[in-house]
Symmetry: C2
């Protein structure tokens, strides 16, 4: 019966994954469509996930020596032309302000699609000496990229993100930073979002416009497609030269700095939905769940039930658990469906008989298991369960993903692999033509290099392979 | 000698307050000018103050039942025309996106100067029944108002703020919300920023474009001018009617909701600079200070000094104090100046003799007092001092302000009052003509009504007074 209810409300995840996604994000109140095409309104339930993501990441950024700042939204269009690849990559997607304060502007202004250029222009002013280095700044901001096809969280004209921009005296330090932040992202994705990710370098075709090298982390969604969940870029001296960011070194010479940039966005919300969701709706990992446990009273009007529920709520709140008590007039069955759809990790059911027996029934959203626990020590029990859910969700996602990584020797193998919802590892000669051919014939793209692996032959042309590439269809 | 050093670096606060302000905000690293006219870059030291402001306010918003969300930056221009006063107030300041993705848009889009209209359009979709009310949402966002004359933090084309937007079933509830949030702002300003504020209703002329009534909090700066530090607006059914926000009431009737909105911005950083700063630079209240205590080693190279300083730093960090140890090669005198200019509430000086005696010298930035304290129990000592600084800064600011509130019976009295850097209370008949005349002749504007006070005669026309108004020159 409960299952029927879900079927009415959200599309079948097995039959129509895209529709399931759309139903889930809208009907759980995560997001709504904004009045301007391609924009989204992040509703309180969705924004609370973002706040938890922010707080976890921000801690990690600060622990690695970064400070937050805020740079302007509007960037002179001329800034983009200073770095040749950068303008080519971003100019077509830019939203442009041409009028302001009732007048036409003398120079059109871009709404930032990313902020390397404006950080660069300020760094060239702030950095004078080796003593000023490194500069390690991050910002939390909105950015805009005008996209033709949009989907909430995954691809919207405006989205929220963080962008770190750092400047260093040497190539080694800048590269170290690039790899360090990739590691921070990976640790965060695994331990907070319970999403196992594969990190590695990207091909020239897939790299950030203006970077020397881009490193990405790729997460497998439940349909076997990949989602790029974060990237770090080693920018070499490209932006230093474009914006004249120089420092006086100890040896008395003027040198260009080396820079890096790195970012993750509200896409991560889309990632966790598609990595963990099931036929009943969302399954949110406890660390970032807006509500970690919901208390559902059984026989809410029986004397003492609501009081006891309120007591348990207070105990859990004091223990730092994000808990809600659903004391509405809806039936327990309706509430079960609702909170399961919303992906709350634990449901605590409390009825007159439970209370009498000094027990509660706790339901785990991830495994759908239901067990009885003593009310005595309930805070400890809930905290232990939450951390078990967190760990088990990561393990389950790892198992799912690991069972879906296959190898291919030729382009047919790649096609078959991705059609069956796999990540496909295959040799690649390193040339753009072969990379393009894979995309044309399989709709899969090179996600990242499989670090530490070497194939013998390119799956496309049969020549000697330079790297092993992970191919997948991607969001 | 130390004083000379300041004189070199920042203008004399007594002689040139505006230049003092500009010198202080730039030279302490709070802010820099962005490449686009009228924009600012909030640098890490300034942004850290904003983070502390955010964290304090956000706690209070959530404790009063509000949730955060994120609404789109771009608003269709047509939305503004739906509320007649609103468009008149904001259209002239709007920045407009006309092109995006390489094409001209079919409808130009405004970068939000404020978000009543886009919240309104979504609320009309989300609110159906009395069960959906109240809706209590806040967002932290950037907004843009194209201004001719700009100054960092005080008036910039882009700034950061929070905007609360609420919808209620009744007028009473919406008004109660409007007043409640004014109270939250006042408590925050006094207890976190150590700025005493006068709250009250604004005149029709000074109210928010589209509001039924606006309430403001006004803070006195050191030059006697007023700074509007926050406002709350009772919007009645103006936006409900413009955006068709209706609900089905218990009695079966369709009714328009009543809405409120309220906001504070990065202006608050300007407020605390000008409310507390002195000839040496910033004086930052401990609650929002990025660094609450700085440890300056005396004879840094003497054996054991740096080690002991490091120990003290760890002790203070564990106690939750935001502390820095200045272990650079600069002289103690140079460091004293630097950290005083940056407004750090406490400086802890530790030299070989202090360490031997088990003592430290602690300097209070607010009172410029220096005293010896035992190293034993240093964390408690520092925490007590920080809370003393916080309270004493508020008291000092109250005393300063209270000594600068005067009464006037006529327009000459108002002029003399504001020329001497006072807030001037005067009777007002309630007509716009008299209000305009005050401005024309004194450059002062009606800040807020002096609640609970009634004057007999209007200071301008001599007719019966309707209210007592606080007039001041304002930022």
């Amino acid at each position: 019966m409960a299952q029927e209810n879900f079927v009415e409300r959200i599309a079948d995840i097995e039959k129509d994954f895209p529709q399931w996604y759309t139903d889930v994000v809208v009907k759980t109140g995560l997001v709504d469509y904004g009045p301007v095409k391609g924009t989204m309104v992040i509703r309180p339930y969705g924004y609370a996930i973002w706040e938890n993501i922010q707080s976890e990441l921000d801690k990690r950024f600060k622990a690695t020596g970064h400070k937050n700042a805020y740079f302007p939204l509007l960037i002179p269009m001329s800034f983009f032309t200073k770095e040749a690849e950068h303008v080519e990559g971003f100019a077509p997607e830019v939203a442009v302000v041409t009028h302001a304060g009732g007048e036409e502007l003398s120079e059109p202004l871009a709404i930032r699609p990313t902020s390397e250029t404006i950080f660069g222009s300020m760094y060239s002013k702030w950095i004078q000496s080796y003593r000023d280095l490194p500069v390690l700044i991050n910002q939390w901001a909105n950015v805009m990229r005008w996209e033709k096809t949009t989907r909430p969280f995954l691809r919207t004209s405006e989205f929220l993100w963080q962008e770190g921009h750092t400047a260093h005296a040497t190539e080694e330090e800048a590269l170290e930073e690039t790899m360090k932040m990739l590691g921070v992202y990976k640790e965060f994705a695994e331990n907070c979002l319970a999403i196992p990710v594969i990190t590695g370098r990207k091909t020239e075709k897939e790299k950030f416009a203006g970077a020397v090298a881009t490193f990405g982390m790729e997460a497998m969604m439940k349909d076997g497609k990949s989602l790029q969940a974060g990237t770090t870029h080693y920018l070499g001296q490209n932006f230093a030269k474009a914006f004249d960011i120089k420092y006086l070194d100890k040896d008395g010479a003027q040198k260009f700095v080396y820079t890096s940039s790195w970012g993750v966005s509200t896409r991560l919300i889309g990632a966790l939905i598609m990595a963990h969701g099931d036929s009943r709706g969302l399954v949110i990992p406890p660390v970032v769940a807006p509500v970690q446990a919901v208390i559902v009273p059984i026989a809410v009007k029986k004397a003492g039930v609501l009081e006891k529920c309120g007591e348990v709520k207070k105990i859990l709140e004091s223990a730092g658990v994000r808990v809600e008590l659903d004391d509405t007039d809806n039936s327990p069955g309706w509430k079960f469906n609702e909170w399961e759809m919303k992906g709350v990790p634990l449901r605590i059911e409390l009825g007159p008989r439970d209370i009498e027996a000094g027990k509660a029934v706790i339901f785990r959203r991830d495994t759908l298991e239901k067990n009885e626990y003593a009310l005595d020590g309930i805070a400890d029990t809930v905290k232990k369960l939450l951390s078990a859910v967190q760990k088990d969700m990561l393990k389950a996602a790892e198992t799912r993903r690991d069972g879906r990584i296959v190898y291919a020797d030729d382009i047919d193998g790649i096609l078959k692999g991705v059609e069956n919802g796999n990540f496909v590892k295959a040799g690649w000669c390193g040339c753009r033509k072969c990379e393009d051919e894979v995309k044309a014939k399989t709709a899969a793209t090179a996600r990242v290099f499989a670090e530490g692996e070497t194939s013998k032959k390119c799956a496309v042309c049969g020549k000697d392979a330079e790297r092993t590439v992970i191919f997948a269809r991607a969001y």
